[in-house]
Symmetry: C2
Subunit: 199 residues, 2 copies
Amino acid sequence: MPFMARPRASDETRRKLLEEGMEAFLKQGYHGTGLKEVLDRVRVPKGSFYNYFESKEAFGTATIEHYADCVAAKLAAAMDSAPDPLGGLRGFFEREMRAFEAADFVGGCLVGNLGAEIEGSPIIREALSIAAKRYRDGIAEVLRQAQEAGQLRRDISADELAALLVDAWEGAVIRMKIERSLLPLQSCLARLLDGFFKP
Amino acid sequence: MPFMARPRASDETRRKLLEEGMEAFLKQGYHGTGLKEVLDRVRVPKGSFYNYFESKEAFGTATIEHYADCVAAKLAAAMDSAPDPLGGLRGFFEREMRAFEAADFVGGCLVGNLGAEIEGSPIIREALSIAAKRYRDGIAEVLRQAQEAGQLRRDISADELAALLVDAWEGAVIRMKIERSLLPLQSCLARLLDGFFKP
């Protein structure tokens, strides 16, 4: 029935839905976000949401993947403009902190927030696990380069350093949200990157 | 009108509401928890909730305080049964891990979860900030004793070590929830308490 063919789901609308979903989930949590408000902001009628995603859970999963892509792109950009691995990593975290401050400390990290909030959805948990591993692996790769450049200690593997750094950063991001201050993040970096991780 | 006096709010019912609230907020998040289900479980009619708390927000705040009391009591109990400060702290974290495992990794830390999830409530944020500080101060006190006993390095203040340990632990708890595994927590303790924090 070619005359009744459904409109082809546009990639652009899908991307806008993911952007709005990321913002809303970050600021209001998963359960605190209604699909209707996301759709309203992108001006997509409720009925056609299902041309893009089959459920709120599938939308959440795609949003987490999109967030992981964004973080990977930001890390790559910070590395590209840096003179050396450690400088790039510091630049990445500096930009994150400036963005948190600009957002008045609302939001934080989508993976941390949803990981803390959501139980009972194995699909979302799997997406969070993959996103967290991508983040950790990206940081580990930079730490490995910094080790090879003699900027960081080599007696502990880059993977282990990355796991500690990312866990501590995630905990510090939550404390930043609670205290509305960058101090927890600055202390985390000072104590690890500029402290225990030194050669 | 003495014959129509409202029943005096019972301390026991209030305590049960806080226990159920703690469980529900831990497992379902703040926005994912309806007051009705908490009331049903304690067999309190909806109308009389307001004899105990003036709003969901006030209930959330009281639940966070109750949770902080519980954590402080668990830390004190672990210290009481330990031969030395570091042993007590390890015992505390061991018990936390056994409880997480028994709960099938559902829940985690109420302060971390609500800190990650909730925006827009200055009252709850204040309660979280106080609870997080109590937790951090409790851990710092034990670390200070361990420093004095020569069990931990003394070139960094106990307050700073506690902030890093608690932030890293909180991040690792979220990763535990995502990965359904104690490994992140075990790595955190091995790397900090048994690693960087050593004299």
